[in-house]
């Protein structure tokens, strides 16, 4: 008997930074349609920004996201510097780049841990978060804060990186490399993870183009874009690094892109620390002329876009903000449909949205709204699939 049910995923969970609701329509095991409802965390920041001084806006937009908290102020200062054609001191550009790449490392490790948890690899989760800690400690050393570092300022940065901190930073970065090696081995060579993540949640290249996805989600589908290379800001055009590209568009490809990007971030930070010149860190901007400016940043999740218009007063008249997840989350409409419920949690999490919503899943009977499963049941379902794969793979190996 076909049993059509609706599964609402979300919207609230104490862990997640942005609640959202995914209403999955399923027939048996198969997801046939998905309805995405956002807006639970709409705080009107674009409007708020019109009431703040240009200097205050950097603090405001930092609070859009708790994880990629430097991407928004970075994109905002880029927009302001485009608007007013400001020349930023060289040292400040290096410091900005170092902060942005450290953020990418901690954000990718955070995602890796949660992805591990969703498929039943809690060791990956614990390890990933363990190695994320030293990165947060480095942020604390530089800025006094583990999150919300408040480093960006129109025309420069607010704090310098002290000379005596540089060797400590270098050591912490170097110590990350063996950990990333371990993850690469653990994830990419593990037959179970491969079997679990390959071929699910596929976003084809054409779908990626139509939905205009960005960041690792796009690069895993063979779209060769990266704002750091295409529209360079900071000092990305003065250091050597590679854009990581994959073709398959499945969860495995997205995982691979993020793990390999960790190496590139480590390399960028090392080069920046070596090349960073001495000098001023702030251009001391007082007035902003009328005009409009666009700033972009490759945040850990993809292109972050800010548009600012000024009328010559000390506040913006319009400030448009587009976070990468705005494009990426919408693409779940095609990535999750056609898959099974046991893959839904990891598929929705694979674009690296605000993951934790996937932890609050409820399966309801479509007609009676009777509760069939809750979120934990669905994560268990996802983990059980991994267990089955483990068993079938090990029994096959023992037969050989």
């Amino acid at each position: 008997m076909s049993h059509k049910v609706v599964i609402p995923i979300g919207p609230y969970h104490p862990l997640q930074e942005e609640p959202e609701l995914f209403r999955l329509y399923v027939e048996g095991e198969k997801v046939v349609d998905i309805d995405i409802v956002i807006g639970y965390m709409h705080r009107g920041i674009e409007e708020l920004s019109e009431h703040k001084h240009f200097d205050q806006v950097a603090f405001l937009v930092e609070r859009i996201c708790g994880i990629c908290s430097t991407s928004h102020p970075f994109a905002y200062v880029n927009a302001m510097e485009d608007l007013a054609k400001i020349q930023v001191p060289e040292r400040a550009l290096y410091i900005r780049t170092i902060i942005a790449e450290m953020e990418r490392i901690h954000s990718h490790l955070l995602w890796l841990g949660l992805a591990g948890h969703f498929i039943g690899y809690n060791t990956v989760w614990m390890w990933a978060w363990k190695y994320r800690e030293p990165v947060l400690d480095m942020f604390e050393m530089i800025s006094g804060n583990r999150n919300h570092y408040a480093m960006m300022k129109v025309g420069g940065v607010r704090r310098d990186i002290k000379d005596q901190d540089i060797p400590v930073l270098k050591k912490a970065i170097d110590e990350l490399v063996p950990a990333v090696d371990m993850f690469r081995g653990a994830v990419m060579d593990d037959p179970v993870i491969k079997a679990r993540l390959k071929g699910i949640g596929i976003l084809t290249k054409q779908q990626a183009i139509d939905w205009c996805v960005v960041g690792p989600t796009a690069r895993a589908s063979g779209i060769n874009i990266d704002v750091r290379r295409d529209d360079p800001y900071g000092v990305y055009d003065r250091v050597t690094w590679n854009v990581i590209l994959e073709k398959d568009g499945d969860i495995f490809a997205k995982t691979k892109v993020r793990i390999l990007e960790l190496y590139e971030s480590v390399s960028i930070i090392r080069q920046c620390l070596d090349k960073m010149p001495k000098g001023e860190i702030d251009a001391n901007i007082k007035d902003i002329p009328p005009g409009e400016g666009i700033g972009r940043v490759e945040a850990p999740r993809g292109e972050c876009f800010h548009y600012v218009r000024s009328d010559g007063t000390n506040r913006p008249v319009r400030h448009k903000i587009r976070a990468p997840s705005f494009m990426n989350v919408a693409s779940n409409k095609v990535a999750a449909v056609g898959g099974t419920i046991s893959d839904a949690a990891i598929t929705l999490a694979a674009v690296d949205p605000c993951y934790c919503c996937t932890e609050r899943l409820i399966v309801l009977d479509k007609d009676s709204y009777r509760k069939l499963m809750n979120g934990w049941d669905l994560i268990k379902l996802s983990q059980a699939k991994t267990e089955e794969l483990k068993k079938s793979i090990s029994s096959r190996q023992s037969q050989i």
Partner: protein
């Protein structure tokens, strides 16, 4: 031929104003009635990526900037339209051309009250259901 020349060549008389703020920041003004054709040319023929659209209330009317990104050169082409009628503002939707525009058109619709003709799913994106009809948070008046 550079992408800018190609855009000029394809859009020709549809361009009312062409402004290069910086080498990578280009602003084009067009008539609102041409938006579907221009968006189709940029997205489908010239393979630009739709980044986002910005709606704003200006003294002269409601303005929408459609930002397209050409990633090979890192240029952003912002297509500007001005809808002068603030009482019943409307424009053709570009969502039928590519699904990526669906959410932002819904957002502009609820925040500024611009009606997108032909949008397949014009309902609230961010505002709560209890928010009163006809009140637009980003309108200046």
């Amino acid at each position: 031929m550079s992408i800018l020349d190609e855009i000029k060549d394809r859009l020709k008389d549809k361009i009312l104003d062409w402004h290069e703020h910086a080498a990578r920041r280009i602003y084009i003004t067009i008539n609102p009635r041409d938006i579907q054709e221009v968006a189709s040319t940029l997205f489908k023929d010239l393979a630009l990526r739709f980044t986002i659209a910005t709606g704003q209330d200006t003294p002269g009317g409601l303005e929408i900037l459609y930002h397209f990104s050409f990633d090979k050169t890192g240029q952003i082409i912002s297509v500007r339209v001005l809808i002068e009628d603030k009482k019943k503002p409307q424009i053709h939707s570009i969502t039928p051309l590519f699904p990526a525009a669906e959410w932002i058109e819904r957002e502009i619709w609820e925040m500024l009250g611009i009606n997108f003709l032909g949008h397949p799913n014009l309902k609230r994106l961010l505002l709560a259901e209890e928010w009163p009809e006809g009140k637009y948070p980003l309108r200046k008046s």
